[in-house]
Symmetry: C2
């Protein structure tokens, strides 16, 4: 994991990552160690410019931590953990810290315990390094995408009149795990009818009725890497408006996909998609970004298809392309795929059917 | 939510809580707002000593945020969010921050944007306030416990020869949601055989075989509040050693439960449990604490049944009591219940059978 250092202009003597308790776990801990399971609350990783790694973990997770080449140090009591890496810090002057992934309280403890050290923010280097996926990362993401695809293809079999949204969420979660996901990548969205117009709604006690739009947005987490896919369905026959919404979003997504390729400014993808929707009958109803970087985190940071993003797309980036239109009180449609950026375009990582399926 | 202020010796003019992106969400945001759904990435809550509340949220979550009495401010772009509460901070000198729940990077941005303010750590006040549950919190936890109980009672029906651990985890997750959980409280532990000896192992591709111990540790998350229950089962008939392990742990748990009541030092519960196990054939094999505070977080902070904890148990605290013994390479047993501390003892919140069930 030397490559993180290559993104730094000021080179620290080492990088120190430290997890607090759930949920304050820095996923870069898994990035630098390659560990693909375990919780590692209270654990610390020391990463050196030559690729060397020290891990300080609770003895409760010592077995799991052995699946790395790191030098392993274990503690019985959390309070003693910082003392365990005092020797490694002795000769270091500058220590890189992921300011975005450490709780302020823990940072203050490090400052107090090592007052003579200079702590510098290396969060940007992690974001940049993680934006470009290596072969192992890509293999995990592809598997996560394949699992999500398989579950998405089963949605029509899972739905019936009067089904609750939360029941569909339970079925999706079950199938994700049965197909090999370690867990769902995030809270499953399985919304019906007017709820499909709320992009951040997950699921509740609403029943499925004829004429409802059904929006399913979920992903698989496989060995810590995530997928993220969305499809919209119609229970029964679509109205003219529903069909128009679907056609508009599908066309917008195709425009996004055609625009994306290495060398393009990320914002241009969002602008191309927005421009198309703004000229449609659904102008003003596309209220979020066109997509985001995907990996160890579902929102993997850095690159995003927004109006402000000034990053240039590069080969081996993985992003979602997910335009949507939302009519409050009526319903919404979003279509989302995960793609790998290539020199000449994109490779689809998710491939579930994009027909406007009647269920 | 005035009660947080009552735990502070130095009174700030207001308390500011700020969420980053998943997973860096401060669950105190939900504590002070009472919101029981939504993600609220990038949101800020300002809490005043008179109980008043300002919420600054993305317009994508404005609908969800309306389920409070707070003054609502919405932003389109995250970069503008800190500007939105500049007026509220104008007359404030001292601002309380949860140092344990804010990423260092975000704290630095606040420092930069409001250089004349004094930021003080109020994390202890939240921990203390949250340790004592009010009626609404308790109702949510009781519901979460009831859901977990119902699923635990079904484990014997779900198991069969050659079942994979991950299949059982999928079944448990499904049933939790079908019974009304918003999601599982944490990664489900469904371990077989020798894996039951690893307290932090979750589930994998191991199949169930006759003679295996089966350990199930899971919880329901209901309106953001969690339960946490563990039972051990035997597939077939127990060996003498397995039966002895089970009997020892069950007796140890009963000792813990009999010791716990308001007014007792929390460490005394752990010591009573440890003492019993240390005198058993399983001396040295109880390698974690006897339990933890439970609520919005599964490990709710503050009070815990450890050797070091110096806190006095109080009425309306909710804790787990979960001794275990672990024989590496052979297997382990843990029995865990959630209890409410009362003046004269405890009230069981989880009630699933504690017979050593053959499945």
């Amino acid at each position: 994991m030397k490559r993180v250092f290559s993104h730094l202009t000021v080179q620290p003597d080492l990088i120190l990552l430290q997890n607090a308790s759930e949920p304050f776990i820095d996923d870069n801990f898994f990035y630098v160690t390659g560990l693909d399971q375990g919780l590692f609350e209270g654990s610390t990783a020391l990463l050196y410019p030559d690729g060397g790694l020290d891990l300080i973990v609770s003895e409760l997770e010592a077995e799991t931590a052995k699946h790395t080449d790191a030098h392993l140090h274990t503690y019985k009591k959390k309070e003693t953990s910082n003392g365990l890496f005092q020797p490694q810090l002795a000769s270091a002057t500058t220590i890189g810290i992921n300011f975005a992934g450490i709780a302020h309280q823990q940072f203050m403890k490090l400052l107090e315990q090592f007052p003579s050290k200079q702590f510098i923010d290396v969060s940007d280097a992690f974001t940049k390094s993680r934006a470009i996926k290596d072969a192992t990362e890509l293999a995990h993401i592809k598997r996560a995408c394949h699992i999500a695809d398989q579950v998405m293809e089963k949605i029509p079999e899972l739905t019936r009149e009067s089904l609750y949204e939360y029941e569909l969420a339970a079925e999706i979660g079950y199938l994700l795990q049965k197909h090999g996901a370690d867990k769902p990548a995030f809270d499953i969205i399985s919304s019906f009818g007017a709820h499909t117009a709320e992009p951040h709604y997950t699921h509740g006690k609403t029943r499925l009725h004829r004429g409802d739009l059904v929006l399913c947005d979920f992903g698989a987490c496989f060995k810590k890497y995530n997928s993220d896919i969305t499809r919209a369905f119609i229970f029964g026959s679509p109205s003219k408006q529903q069909q128009d919404m679907y056609d508009t979003v599908l066309e917008a997504q195709e425009i996004g996909i055609e625009t994306a390729r290495a060398g393009i400014n990320a914002c241009d993808v969002h602008r191309a998609v927005s421009k198309y929707i703004e000229k449609s009958p659904f102008a003003g109803r596309f209220i979020h970004s066109t997509g985001h970087s995907l990996g160890l985190a579902v929102h993997d940071g850095g690159i995003g298809f927004t109006d402000e993003c000034t990053d240039i797309l590069q080969e081996h980036m993985v992003l979602t392309i997910e335009p949507g239109v939302y009519l409050p009180g009526i319903g919404g449609v979003r279509i989302e795929d995960d793609v790998l950026i290539k020199k000449q375009g994109v490779e689809f990582l998710t491939t579930a059917s994009k027909a406007f399926r009647r269920i």
